[in-house]
Symmetry: none
Subunit: 196 residues, 4 copies
DNA sequence: CATGAATGAGCCTTCATTCAT
DNA sequence: CATGAATGAAGGCTCATTCAT
C-alpha cells in the first residue's frame, strides 16, 4: 500500500521520538519492542526503518538531543552571571525547572546509559561530564573566593546533582507540591549546604 | 548427567544470587539472559530451575533480601539514639556505608523496580516507603524541636535520600576518594542543609 | 532477510494449515513441534507467526473450520428430505463420504479435543453436540412415526456416530475396499439396526 | 533421605501405573510429564526410575497389560459357546462390560498408539488384530451358516467394534443411563444389524 | 530405595531487521 | 513511504533422564 494520506516525513519522525520517549520511560529500552513503538505511531514495524536507522540509534538520538538542549539552555541560564552565590542559585533553579519539564528525557538519559553501545555511551558521558563541570566550576570558584565551603568539590558536585536530579523519579505535576515550593526547598538545602 | 560431585543446593543458590547481582548491575535485568547467568555459575540454563522458580522471582528475591537487610541494619544503627542531630548523623553515616558496601543491590533495587511485576513492585515500594519514613521522621522531629529548618519535609527527605543514594552510580573503592572523606563531604552538605 | 519473491500471505497460511493437518494427524498435536511444521512449509519457525497467533489457535482453527464445514454440508445433504428412512440414509451416506474425504480433520477433531484450552474446547463441543442432535432428531422422529425402533435414542445416536466415524482410523483409499462397498456395508448395519 | 516408612516396591509400581492411567487418560501421554506423575505418586521424579525403565516403557506396559487381560477375559467369556447368535451376544456383552470397567486403559490403548515407538506399536497392533479376528470369525461363521447377513465382513467387524468401543469416550457411571440399558441398546443395534 | 542436583535437547515465542511489492 | 512476509538469533522455560549422596 502507498503512503497514508497526510503523512509526512518529519512529522512521522517526531511522532516516533515522542512515542519512543513514552515507551522507554515506561518500560525501559530493552523491554520496548519496535512493534510496540510502531503500534503506538500507527505504522507497521518495517516502516519505522524509513525514519530511523536502528533501535540503538533511536535511543542515542533521544538522549543526545536532550544533552545538547541541556547545554544550550544552561548556557542561556547562566549568561552574564558571575557572582558564585547568584550563579549557583541560577544553576539550581534552571536544573530543577528543566528536569521537571523533561523528566522522561532525563530519566532515560541516566537509566538507559547502560543500553547504549560503548561508542555512543562515551559520547553521552562526555557531554554529561561537561555539564557536571559547570557545577564543579561554580563550586570551585566559590570555594576559592571563600564564599562556599565544601568537603571534596567533585563529590559535592555529584551529591548536589544527584539530589536535584532525583525529582525525575517521583515528581508529577499533579501532586501536592507546586513547582515553586519544590525549588525553594531544594534551594535551601543546597545553598545552606555549601555555606562557609 | 546427574548431580556433580560436591554440588550442593545452598551453595549453588548463593552463587546464582551473586552472579545475578553482577550481571543485572552490569547489563540490566532485561539484558541479562539466563544463559548468561548459567554460564557465569557454571551450569546449564535449565539447571537454574533447580534453584529459582523464575527469572522474575530471582529479581524480586535479590531486591527483597536487600530491603529486609536494610531495615534490620538501620534499626541497629539508630538504636538508642534520640537527639535529632545525632540521629540524623547516624542515619547519614549508616546509609552511605551500607550503600557503598552493597551498591549493586541498591542500584538494582531502584533501577529495576520497573522490571518487577506489579505485585512484586508494590511490596518493594512499601518497604522503601517505610525506610523513607524513618528519615522523614527524623527531620520532622528535628523541625518540631527547632533543631532543623527545612522547606517541605517530604521533599527534603527525597532530596537527601537522592543525594546519599547517588554514590551507588559512581563510587568505586578503587578511586581517589576514601570512604571517610566521602562521608564527611556528604555529612557537611546534609547537616548544614537542614540547619535552622 | 525480507519477503521472498513470490511469497503471499494466504497461500502460506493455506500451506501451514495443510502441513498442520498432516503432522497433527501423524504425530499428534503435542508431538508436532512448530519447527517440524515450519520445516514442512519451508519457513523458519518464527515466520509462522506472520500467519498464526499461537500453536493452540492453529489447532482450534483447524478443528473449527472443519466443524463449520461439516454443518454447512450436512445442511445441504439433508435439504428437502423429510421421510425418516430417506433422511437417515442421506445422513449415513453424507457422514461417511465427508469422513472419508476429510479423515484427518475428523480424526484431529476428536483425538485432539483434549489438547484444546477449555474455552476452545467448549466451543467445539457445542458444535459437535449440534451435529449429534441432527442424527438424534432423525431417530426420534422415526421412532415417533413408528418407522424406527431403538433402545435409548441418545445412546443409539452415539453408537451410530461412533460406528460411522470409526472409518477415519483405518480407511485408506488405496485399500481393498472401494467407497461404494464401504457405504453399503455401513448402510445395512445402520438401517437394519434401527428397524422396527 | 532414605525410603519412606511403609513404602514397598510392588505397591509403588502399582501406584505409578494407576497414576499413569489417570494422567494419560486426562492429558495424553505427551502432555503428562514424569514430574506430574511423580507428584501424584508422592515421589521425586528421579525416584520413578527405581520402578520403571522409561516413560515409553511405562506407556507400553499399561497398554500391553490391558491387551493381555482383554484376551484372557474374552476367552473366558466365549468358552463353550458355539452357536453364532449366542456367541455374538456374548461378545457384545463382554466387550461393553469390559470397556466400561476399564475405559481409561481402552481409551489410552487406542488414542496413544501413535505415541508408541514403532516396535512397541507393532506388538500392540498384532494383539489388537487378534482380538478383532475373534469378532470377524464369529461374523464369518454366522454368515456361512446363513444366520447373519452383512456386507463386507472385515468392514462390519471394524464398524461394530468402533460402535461398541465408542462408549469409552462418553460413558460415565454417574450418568442417566444404567449399564443394562446401555447393553440392551447396543445389543439391539448389533443383532438387528447383522440379521439375515 | 529416595532425593536433589545436574545434563542437554528441545519447546513456543519474540525480536530487530530486511526487502519485494 | 508503507506494507507484509521473511530471516536468524535469541529468550525463558520444561523435560526425560542420570547419578552422587
Amino acid at each position: 500500500m502507498a503512503r497514508t494520506a497526510g503523512s509526512s516525513g518529519p512529522k512521522t519522525l517526531a511522532a516516533i521520538h515522542e512515542a519512543g520517549l513514552q515507551l522507554i520511560y515506561a518500560k525501559g529500552y530493552d523491554a520496548m519492542s519496535l512493534r510496540d513503538l510502531a503500534a503506538k505511531v500507527g505504522l507497521q514495524p518495517g516502516s519505522l526503518y524509513n525514519h530511523i536507522t536502528t533501535k540503538q540509534e533511536l535511543l542515542f538520538d533521544l538522549i543526545h538531543n536532550h544533552m545538547i538542549a541541556l547545554h544550550e539552555r544552561i548556557g542561556e541560564a547562566l549568561a552574564g552571571i558571575s557572582e558564585p552565590h547568584t550563579r549557583l542559585e541560577a544553576f539550581v533553579a534552571f536544573h530543577l525547572t528543566y528536569h521537571i519539564e523533561r523528566k522522561r528525557e532525563v530519566f532515560i538519559g541516566s537509566a538507559e546509559l547502560r543500553s547504549l553501545e560503548p561508542k555512543n555511551r562515551k559520547r553521552i558521558i562526555k557531554l554529561r561530564r561537561d555539564y557536571e563541570d559547570i557545577l564543579a566550576g561554580i563550586l570551585e570558584r566559590g570555594v576559592a573566593a571563600k564564599k562556599f565551603k565544601v568537603g571534596d568539590v567533585r563529590v559535592s558536585t555529584y551529591a548536589i546533582l544527584a539530589m536535584l536530579t532525583g525529582i525525575c523519579t517521583w515528581y508529577t505535576p499533579k501532586g501536592r507540591i507546586d513547582q515553586d515550593a519544590l525549588i525553594k526547598t531544594h534551594m535551601r538545602l543546597v545553598m545552606q549546604g555549601v555555606e562557609g
